[in-house]
């Protein structure tokens, strides 16, 4: 279903309601929201797709169009078939067909203009053969404001429309619909996050908004400081006192965070960073997607220090891995990245909480109180037990300079060697730990000789194409420490490797070349719009 209109028409909310209707019918849902970087005017559209299986991509063909204006109908014409049902606001669009007299319905129900979308949704529900009970239930559950009035508007339109293209239902129970950013927020909450600190930047901002709203219920402090430099330094201040903290931004904001990131590496301060990619370079396309920050995130910040980087592929994985990221950050006292993109952050996915492994804040090694506390005392694992300011008898000294075990600045060569090796050993300990996770996911046709190599949110499109076309899909989800052995195992039996990435230089393919793994073909897309299965299939036909 495609829902389109002008920016400010509430397209995303209308899309969310349609998504919940499909969810209630037992479909697995994916919602793609496409909008320009402006507040009013311009063309917005949401594509809601339902399927019996889990999905994470939208198709080029639409079955239903919900048009709030004429532009929607014209602009997406290439995606229609003769069977496409177009439902439109008859006040805005003067054509023959399934028009909804929105103004008249609102007048009849004495409802404000803002409820106009409920009329369109009601009309759609009837056209799609959705039982009124389902509509009623979805409105009551997901439209807390003006529920009764909205229902009257929807019912009026429902009764005026006829059933055109019944979409049926599946036997699945409804799942939780979450955007990727919401899933990340919930995952971080599960692993004991105390505070979230962020400066607004699309496409990370919706996590800031979500946590600001949910913070009091979840016990999470949310702070919006003066800029990303302050964000990172405040987060390190929180970590120093023992409070679990995450920050969120996109590439440009992350540029400002890198000095603090390097500090986290040197001072061994745990922090989780959500970096949600958009089309670059520079300001780029603020509201469109991209996968251009892999190399940047893997190597950002001066100096050498261990880090964890994970790129979840959908809402389900985001919920799982963000909790892992927080726990690893604290266990190893390192920065941990959740590398997302606009597709994942702002796309809506069906998430089954029952499928996520249990998460809880893992215990971290703490100082036993004996002798003099030394913040950087050397250990076989490289991990120093923690003490926090306020702890009786402990003097806790964190230092951005090269330092000795007590945290006092030093320029003495042997001590610099010792502390560097300590940090490296910590990285080795981290790698041993991450090896225990499935860091490379294979899907599609497991025994196929041709494989797609991808990462992040292209999971959705690659999994679908792989499954439907008999291709293997190999997707490293952990990017650092890089799970090379797992990748090599996944590549066993693969004769032809096709890299699929949403960037212009094939960043993952380039990265694995250092290990002698060479992609035979590369399918790249870098205009800010995610691949659809149809487009990927068409491009694959040319290379395999």
């Amino acid at each position: 279903m495609l829902i389109g209109g002008r920016a400010g028409d509430g397209i995303n909310n209308a899309g969310a309601m349609v998504a919940q209707l499909l969810n209630r019918l037992g479909y697995r849902v994916y919602l793609y929201f496409d909008y320009p970087s402006l507040i009013r005017g311009g063309h917005n559209f949401a594509i809601v797709r339902g399927s019996e299986r889990y999905i994470g991509a939208h198709r080029n063909h639409v079955d239903f169009v919900l048009a709030l204006n004429r532009e929607t109908i014209d602009r997406h014409r290439k995606d229609y078939s003769p069977d496409t049902v177009i439902i439109f606001n008859a006040d805005q669009v003067k054509i023959a067909g399934n028009g909804v007299p929105v103004k008249a319905i609102l007048a009849a129900e004495e409802a404000p203009e803002i409820m106009g979308n409920s009329a369109i949704i009601g009309a759609f529900a009837r056209a799609a053969g959705i039982a009124w009970e389902t509509v009623d239930r979805v409105f009551r559950a997901h439209m807390p404001k003006g529920t009764e009035k909205n229902l009257k508007v929807a019912r009026n339109a429902y009764d005026q429309m006829i059933e055109i293209h019944p979409i049926g239902s599946c036997s699945n129970p409804p799942l939780s619909l979450l955007t990727g950013n919401e899933a990340i927020g919930v995952g971080l909450a599960r692993s004991g996050m105390d505070a979230y600190i962020s400066y607004p930047m699309t496409p990370s901002s919706s996590l800031l908004h979500f946590l600001a709203e949910q913070g009091p219920r979840l016990g999470i402090e949310v702070i919006h400081p003066e800029n990303e430099i302050a964000v990172m330094l405040m987060a390190l201040g929180f970590a120093y006192t023992g409070r679990r903290t995450a920050v969120g931004t996109s590439g440009g904001g992350f540029c400002l965070m890198t000095e603090g990131l390097s500090f986290a590496g040197m001072a061994e301060l745990p922090v989780v960073l959500l970096v949600s990619q958009r089309t670059g370079p520079s300001t780029g396309l603020p509201t469109y997607t991209g996968q251009t920050e892999l190399h940047f995130v893997m190597s950002a910040g001066q100096g050498e220090y261990p880090r964890f980087v994970v790129a979840p592929g959908d809402g389900q994985e985001a919920l799982h891995w963000s909790a892992v990221a927080m726990n690893l950050a604290w266990k190893f006292q390192v920065p941990a990245f959740i590398l997302a993109d606009k597709t994942l952050s702002e796309g809506t996915y069906s998430v089954d909480p029952a499928l996520v492994p249990p998460a809880a804040p893992d215990a971290v090694p703490v100082w036993d109180g004996s002798g003099e506390y030394r913040r950087y005392s050397d250990t076989p694992s490289g991990i120093t037990p923690l003490a926090f300011p306020g702890r009786k008898g402990a003097v806790v000294k964190a230092d951005s300079y090269a330092h000795d075990e007590a945290g006092i600045t030093t320029e003495e060569g042997n001590m610099v060697d010792l502390m560097t090796r300590k940090r490296l050993r910590k990285g080795e300990s981290l790698a041993r730990e991450t090896d225990r996770y499935a860091g490379v996911i294979t899907s599609g046709a497991g025994d196929a000789g041709t494989a797609l190599l991808c990462w992040g949110s292209t999971k959705g499109v690659c999994d679908e194409v792989g499954e439907d076309s008999g291709l293997k899909v190999i997707r490293p989800v952990v990017l650092c420490p890089f799970p090379l052995a797992q990748l090599k195992a996944a590549l066993s039996g693969v004769g032809k490797l096709v890299a699929v990435e949403e960037n212009a230089t094939a960043q993952l393919a380039t990265f694995v070349e250092r290990y002698g793994i060479v992609a035979d073909k590369k399918i790249l897309r870098y205009n800010g719009r995610p691949f659809t299965p149809d487009e990927l299939l068409a491009q694959l036909a040319g290379v395999i």
Partner: protein
């Protein structure tokens, strides 16, 4: 019980005659007094930036957070927000907080967060060997401005008054009794305390001969009068020749940011329940 040894064994590398020694002595006596008063030093955190001032983190045997250049203040804000029970003292430099990290200083004042910022204002970059800073006088000949600067300095007192600081003072490293009173008062003040300390840089800006005949003590009354504070602040613009008032410019009591937005503690089973409810509501 013997008090804590306040000075660490780290080798001190400040130049002989450096004003930092005065500030170190000031902090040491304040910390010793605090312990004598029966208050634990375990709850004290010293945050520094980068520069000569910042070596304080190595030299004082208290919890310390040796931050980045310009980033002492945001770290101090984070520490205080994370644990409002801590006493957070932030030593910063003029290059540190008036140049590289000015935005953080302004915002910390705006928020009236309960920390104490002591700016070691020697009006020159010492550690990078002698460039002008935002408080160097017009025409200052530094290594990056051999022909003299062509820009007026900031007046940090005016800047902090305009930003919302609720404790604004100026000290001088050659007036140590007064300096101790100002810093101790700042620590005791509930809110954002700012003390600009005119500090002698023995190597690159030995200005004692300039300061000594010009300094005088500001009156200690009427400190809640903002307009009067602004007039006092304008008396010396850090460049032109004028009398230099030392002491308190302004103080008043306002709600602090760190006690402003209490978020309830929700952990363990309570948090699990809240998460389950949230996920259920999305079905």
């Amino acid at each position: 019980m013997a008090g804590r040894q306040i000075i660490t064994t780290a080798q001190n590398t400040w130049c002989p005659g450096c004003g930092n020694f005065s500030i170190q002595f000031t902090l040491k006596s304040i910390l010793e007094q605090r312990e004598k008063d029966g208050k634990s030093l375990d709850n004290v955190v010293l945050v520094t930036g980068i520069g000569c001032h910042a070596k304080m983190a190595d030299y004082l045997n208290v919890n310390s957070f040796y931050s980045l250049h310009g980033r002492a203040v945001p770290a101090a804000v984070g520490i205080k927000l994370a644990n409002p029970d801590l006493t957070v003292i932030c030593c910063s430099g003029d290059g540190d907080s008036y140049a590289e990290g000015l935005d953080h200083l302004v915002f910390a004042a705006k928020r009236n967060i309960d920390i104490t910022v002591i700016v070691h204002d020697n009006r020159v970059y010492g550690l990078t060997t002698g460039q002008y800073t935002p408080t160097s006088p017009l025409g200052f000949k530094g290594k990056s401005t051999p022909a003299g600067t062509a820009e007026f300095p900031f007046n940090p007192i005016e800047l902090m008054l305009a930003s919302g600081a609720t404790y604004v003072a100026r000290g001088y490293t050659r007036k140590m009794d007064q300096l101790k009173r100002l810093v101790a008062g700042g620590i005791a003040h509930r809110g954002f305390s700012f003390i600009d300390v005119l500090q002698i840089c023995a190597t690159f800006f030995p200005a004692a001969d300039y300061y000594d005949p010009r300094v005088y003590d500001l009156p200690e009354s009427g400190l809640e009068n903002f307009e009067a504070a602004c007039i006092k602040a304008k008396e010396w613009d850090y460049s032109s020749d004028a009398k230099i008032g030392l002491g308190m410019f302004y103080t008043r009591s306002l709600p602090t940011f760190d006690r402003h937005m209490p978020v309830p503690v929700v952990t363990g089973a309570d948090r699990d329940r809240a998460i389950s409810e949230l996920l259920e509501a999305r079905r």
